[in-house]
């Protein structure tokens, strides 16, 4: 596995691969790899001839009061983990090449960013869309891989791909969970031992909703109350939002009439966690 920072060097490698009709996969990451990332990398390696993992902690997607400086960084560990999956290139661009001081262009996706993470984290998705557009432009992948855990992000990026005519396929892979159901996240390491135990409440709440829907419950108001009261039993858990939404528009729905996404954001102490599940069909 090569580890390269230079945009130009990476592009030259990719040009020669494309000339040989090799398919290129991209796994965009911010590092701090966990099994979720590694699953994306393994799938990419199965589906593409050459896999680029980009590792870039995107300053544009963090708000001024958020954890950019605190975000976990460990290149040596990430390098070993990425290599173990068989990916071909770990691309670690320098911040000043991706976000130079004279960067003036931003990419904004409207509507699907109005609610949920977009509402709580103003500018977050503009930061995501701008950098993802840049990564797509630089790498020109045939397939790009994202995790379902950041559900709203996948909706935003799907819209971005369609609107800006990116010539690539997007693959969204299932959320990878700890054995007790907690969704893998780089931020889990900030949980205290008590918080770590309490954090399973998100998955328990998602499962509870899923079971109620399976049993025939269709009223989202009732389902939401059920989910919220389950979460509230955890004293350290503070609900940011719990919402049953249309899977593409992310608008709240009143009834489970088809495929619906249950989105939630819950603070466990000072650590904000998000999770989601698809209910209905």
């Amino acid at each position: 596995m090569k580890v390269i920072s230079s945009i130009r060097t990476v592009q030259n490698i990719l040009i020669s691969l494309r000339n040989k009709r090799k398919t290129i996969g991209l796994v965009p990451t911010m590092g701090a790899f966990h099994e979720g990332h590694l699953a994306l990398m393994r799938t990419a390696k199965q589906e593409c001839d050459f896999v680029v993992v980009s590792l870039f902690v995107n300053p544009l997607q963090f708000g001024p009061s958020e954890d950019f400086n605190r975000y976990p960084r460990d290149l040596a560990r990430d390098r070993t983990l990425a290599k173990s999956t068989g990916v071909d290139l770990l691309w670690t661009p320098d911040a000043h090449d991706i976000v130079p001081p004279d960067l003036a262009t931003s990419v904004d996706v409207a509507r699907v960013t109005d609610r949920w993470e977009g509402a709580v984290r103003p500018g977050h998705f503009r930061g995501v869309a701008t950098i993802v557009a840049k990564l797509f432009q630089i790498i020109k992948p045939d397939i790009a891989y994202f995790g379902q855990k950041d559900y709203q992000q996948t909706v935003v990026i799907r819209q971005l791909i369609r609107d800006l005519h990116f010539d690539l396929k997007m693959r969204v892979m299932p959320t990878v969970r700890e054995t007790d159901g907690l969704a893998m996240s780089s931020r889990n390491q900030f949980l205290s031992p008590e918080g770590r135990a309490a954090a399973t409440v998100l998955y328990r709440a998602l499962q509870h909703a899923q079971q109620l829907v399976k049993k025939g419950e269709r009223h989202c108001h009732y389902l939401q109350k059920e989910v919220e009261s389950l979460i509230k039993k955890e004293p350290v858990a503070k609900i940011d939002y719990v919402a049953f939404c249309h899977p593409e528009t992310l608008e709240p729905v009143d009834q489970i009439l088809g495929k619906t996404v249950l989105l939630m954001a819950v603070k466990i102490g000072s650590v904000r966690l998000i999770d989601n599940v698809i209910v209905g069909r």
Copy 2:
């Protein structure tokens, strides 16, 4: 010359050309061709194996009180003129393919859009950047051609190309003028006979400034007063702005210390005209 609307059909043609290592030129236009457009097309044809002229009146770059509906449209005439230049493909995309009702993504270039046309026409350059990004993504040209007449637009697009890593060369061609100096523009046809005569004042003012600078004048405040008083001698002319600016940042400058762009926007009756010239070196 082919005339095609379908994005997919155009892209299939371009894929096979690219496989044969042909270079592709793009001349983005809103139609209503004049010698300025035709000069871009002829240069593109000299420099590229295959030239696409896009003809799309971009609704996003017109403000609500602007002349989108009134903007001149004459496909039969444009087709004949484009064909005469030897370009290969006139691409006339349907509005609903470029600006579908569910379009949610916009591309914004900050700073260089703060002043001048950007200040007078809020949202104009966001509309330009969004559509130009889409055209670049669809056509993937090796070289894209623009006219210097829309000077600020060329600065915005140059920044867009750099920021979003578009893999293309931008060529800016000199403004083509009528024999009396009036810059060619699709909007000139809206001038009354009296307005048409008065409209030469823009070029006369640009030339006056250029001569003063050649003679050694360096003080922009003085130069601006000179230019403005010349324009004010035309009773039907109303100055929107006259500004000596840094050629890349478009920030006003006090002294002509190097290459400087003189930008102006002047209303002749109800017709708003823009023009510019480079002074200094």
